[in-house]
Symmetry: C2
Subunit: 259 residues, 2 copies
């Protein structure tokens, strides 16, 4: 399935209309079935869909690692069929979930925010200013879809030594994080000693999604919200925003991971 | 309730860290109760919350105009309590809803996209290039929250004569549109002869939300996705994107509303 579609548009520029060929980012309804029960339909970019499905299941608390997964299939319509090793509870009470500001995964359990207490453990991690600048300078240039359409978010996972390990892009801000999480589960990559760099704004559920997956240092090109900062402070996550061209802001009280 | 919170952050700039006072955009869990049944919790900016609640109910298909509303209350915690004149069906089957790429209102009925057929009627509307440029030049400067925090989306509603009628801002891209819709319902403003200008990307559900409310011309500072263009072409909505500094792109085949 194509991730970009050509389209003839009318461009207004220099006081005149011209007809030009343009490229639009494809958004499609990605259906996820778990044990033959339809779990969710995410609007997504049709790329790295197995990673997205697995990351989504993890973020929803339905699986915890690859041992829980028996099989993953994608059919020709790009629907995902996931079979787990054990039965899992797929009941979902809509009224107990919060609709988030975010992209892709629009809900989370209501008590997640006030009760969230997954404290960050790796307190001896250090990230250098050079790495923050390096991640920032590469994020958008790595994204072919962004350069061609301007219509996606991007997230990359880096080691603290400065190696880029995973990169994902999607129309949905959250989907990029779920794709990183799913990829790391499928390829047995630990997240707790790595740093996540995203183009997307860090609202509460972006932070919780990352912290649930073990991330201790989260950096964004964009801004952060008050709740994201409050949770970061509570659990000890290092939260950095507005990373752009040799500048950034450290929002969390936790400052000791920077060298 | 404050919409901005002061916070001391560490700013890295010119190769050094300095401690500065910064402002963060407030995000809070906005609970909406309908006839004493909890309908949803939206992560939102605590501003224009009655508009948001009413617009959300409209977008969810639960009310169609202000005659359906008996009373709206906001309690001291900024929870909304809405009482309707008639009983409405508040049952919600989570598996039949799509989680969208968007902000605030994360789901929509699964069959909305393929079956969507709310054809646009006002075919004699004309929008001038000057108005598109005027709307663009004012959108961000109108947004105090954007200028102070960089953390919100904005949407404005304009008459075709060039009068700005409503403006709303929120951490959630979708919430800005729901606030416009709710405001128009509460103040008896018709949307079908107006134009909507938003800072947010137009994905499928942003387009459907606008079209449901009667909007015929939708303009964004950002990009559009393939499905949004397909639905716009199907229903006859005029869809314009990347409106920035005297430039824009017309994505919809419908081109006749431009003069």
């Amino acid at each position: 399935m194509e991730v970009i579609k050509k389209s003839t548009i009318k461009k207004y520029k220099n006081n005149e209309f011209i007809e030009v060929d343009d490229e639009l980012i494809v958004e499609f309804p990605f259906e996820i079935f778990v044990n033959d029960h339809r779990l969710a339909t995410l609007m997504a970019t049709p790329k790295s869909l197995k990673c997205l499905a697995i990351g989504y299941l993890f973020s929803e608390g339905l699986i915890s690692n690859d041992n829980d997964i028996n099989e993953i299939l994608l059919n020709k319509n790009n629907n995902a069929y996931i079979y787990t090793n054990d039965n899992i509870d797929l009941s979902c009470d809509g009224t107990n979930r919060i609709r988030t500001t975010g992209c892709g995964n629009g809900t989370m359990p209501r008590n997640f925010i006030s009760n969230y207490n997954k404290f960050i453990k790796n307190n001896d991690l250090k990230i250098s200013v050079e790495l923050i600048n390096k991640m920032e300078s590469q994020l958008l240039s790595d994204s072919e879809l962004f350069l061609r359409t301007g219509g996606v978010h991007n997230t990359s996972l880096w080691s603290l030594k400065g190696e880029k390990i995973i990169f994902h892009e999607d129309v949905g801000r959250h989907n990029t994080i779920d794709k990183i999480i799913g990829d790391s589960i499928l390829n047995n990559i630990s997240l707790s000693d790595k740093v996540l760099f995203t183009s997307g704004r860090i609202s509460s559920e972006m932070l919780i999604k990352s912290a649930n997956a073990g991330i201790c240092i989260l950096v964004s090109r964009s801004t952060v919200t008050t709740i994201a900062k409050e949770i970061a402070d509570k659990i000890g996550l290092t939260l950095i925003g507005f990373a752009r061209k040799n500048r950034f802001n450290v929002y969390s009280d936790n400052y000791k991971r920077l060298i």
